[in-house]
Symmetry: C2
Subunit: 356 residues, 2 copies
């Protein structure tokens, strides 16, 4: 694929629609030369915003439609009545090869359902996964699945590891990502059957990443590994627990630094450093969680993200479109299948791994 990339954008998604999406496109357009955009949604609203943002206008094409999917709409309902909506058309443009990737800040359940319906799963992949870009002490860790599924068996966890590693390589630039499996302890006998089985498969597989072994919840923030793999229930709870805690901390800092005149003075003096800290911890800084496993690149922006956050999601989509991450996933899946076939060949014990 050449450097020229087209991103299909759901201009109506998120809490603010075009008033955030278009400025986000403008920021991305300045940072990412060679990227063009298809903006799906209410033509009049989009044009009004584009008039204020010439950087976006120069590289965008408006695709009008009348409908939009609500932020609270149920996935089943969105699939039934979604045809012709901005979200639907955004993804349809990808299927029709008019774009290389798409971005929506619309509701996650609807986006997942419509994407699966239109794009279908990639060859040999069983389940999609949603990735969270988690700021850590060392950089950014990709955590998946954070909510596409409620249960995952061992084979699906292994697929998540392969998809997550390819993603981290493509978007966060790790040469050879390290991957950990989330568990309640680091010893081999810990955890339930699915994680122990996935552990056994990953330990033996020779893939394009380094399998670190089990990691625990605190390893996410420590940045122990580049990719943390877990089922969608646990991943979603971990992510939302962290979001809740981050808000609690941020409130505490604010109220602490306005609690007394002396504290306010101190905060004013330290304001530059405090602002830098807020930016570093800002979840929006690494906004843009792709739905992995589909026949196409779909990136979900946080519904409440600002223009900078939306631009970050566009950057993620562009990096994925310019990378060969899908070929990397295919290559690793084939190696895994080949290794499994070898294991089952006559004369080989079933418990080959356990003998080591």
């Amino acid at each position: 694929m050449s450097q020229s990339v087209v991103i299909s954008v759901d201009a109506m998604g998120g809490d603010h629609g075009p008033s955030i999406v278009v400025p986000g496109v403008a920021l991305a357009a300045q940072a990412l030369p060679g990227v063009r955009f298809l903006l799906h949604g209410d033509g009049a609203l989009i044009e009004a915003e584009l008039a204020k943002h010439p950087a976006a206008k120069a590289v965008s094409e408006v695709r009008h439609c009348d409908k939009a999917i609500g932020m609270d709409e149920k996935p089943a309902q969105a699939m039934r009545r979604g045809k012709g909506s901005s979200m639907w058309n955004t993804i349809e443009a990808l299927r029709e090869n008019q774009a290389h990737a798409c971005v929506s800040a619309g509701n996650t359940g609807a986006l997942m359902a419509i994407s699966k319906l239109i794009l279908r799963m990639g060859a040999d992949l069983e389940r999609p996964a949603i990735v969270a870009n988690w700021p850590t002490m060392k950089g950014v860790t990709a955590v998946l699945d954070v909510g596409a599924n409620v249960e995952s068996d061992a084979d699906q966890l292994v697929e998540f590891a392969i998809m997550g590693a390819a993603f981290h390589h493509a978007v966060h630039g790790s040469k050879r990502p390290t991957v950990g499996l989330l568990n309640v302890g680091s010893e081999e006998q810990k955890g339930h059957e699915e994680v122990r089985e996935a552990h056994a498969i990953l330990r033996e597989a020779k893939l394009d990443f380094d399998y670190h072994g089990f990691v625990e919840g605190n390893d996410i923030a420590y940045g122990t590994v580049d990719v943390v793999v877990t089922d969608g229930f646990t991943g979603n709870v971990a992510l939302k627990t962290a979001e809740g805690l981050a808000r609690f901390f941020s409130n505490e800092i604010k109220s602490t630094l306005t609690s007394t005149p002396l504290a306010m003075l101190g905060a004013a003096i330290a304001s530059g450093a405090l602002k830098k800290m807020r930016q570093r911890l800002d979840p929006g800084r690494v906004n843009g969680g792709p739905l992995l496993g589909l026949n196409g690149i779909v990136v979900k922006s946080h519904g409440g993200a600002d223009a900078g956050g939306f631009a970050s999601a566009i950057r993620v989509a562009t990096n994925l479109a310019r990378s060969d991450f899908r070929a990397e996933i295919d290559r690793n899946l084939k190696r895994l299948t080949a290794a499994a076939a070898k294991d089952e060949a006559p004369g080989q014990g079933q418990d080959q791994g356990a003998a080591e």
Copy 2:
């Protein structure tokens, strides 16, 4: 039970043994009149610490033993060779009715295994659960299970709800606790079978607490409910994820406020308020997670807790010993069994709950 309470203490547990445990006992003795202590462990070491802490010495009896369970010892090994160790004797004293509750900062797996072996499960209870006292925007939420089990079925989740509510009532003083079931969304159809089934049971049951329904990860820090119920795998991951994030934040604040001379000046000026914030967010402030479900009160102190933290664990044990929380658990379990028997009576549909 009278106001006079005896607490059996594992003086060798934790990262620091008697040098933290004895000062912790001294702090607790001053705050909790009428409490006496049995201190199990190396007699010479304990006596040396008691000599420095007359407040502890006045209310303690030393029970010498030669052995201690290591912090990294596996549960199975601890059970095999644990007899006569400080942890073993601490719990044995409870079984022999020499004490009303016990506290250990020793390793959780060993403490759980030895406690189950010596005390056995309480009548009608299937599985033990470990409770975390989680500081929130509104106070303290009890989260359980955070690691006694790796999987939990619907009935066990319901038991955790009952035990957690009785605990919150006894230790944190809520008149009628609110209880939520941790899930990936608040709608009825969300989540896996176990949580949906537990939800159906709790919704119908008339117990001594208010069942709130599903809560999400962010609701923990928001303090949406007094008790959050989940399986031990998810609970452990959520707790450790939060601990990792808390350390990340604390590091960021420290490095931010020492990053420039101006930031250091600001921090110095705001130091009083910042110190108060650290205390409010300090996990040790509400240290002391009981192992619920056993025939006896066993409270786990964090291995790295300081004397104040250990005293907090003693306070939790004392409050539990002075409360009727075990009678409350029994009462609710009986109501649940009665309700289930009524549901299964002839002429009643199986899906009575779903019909509402």
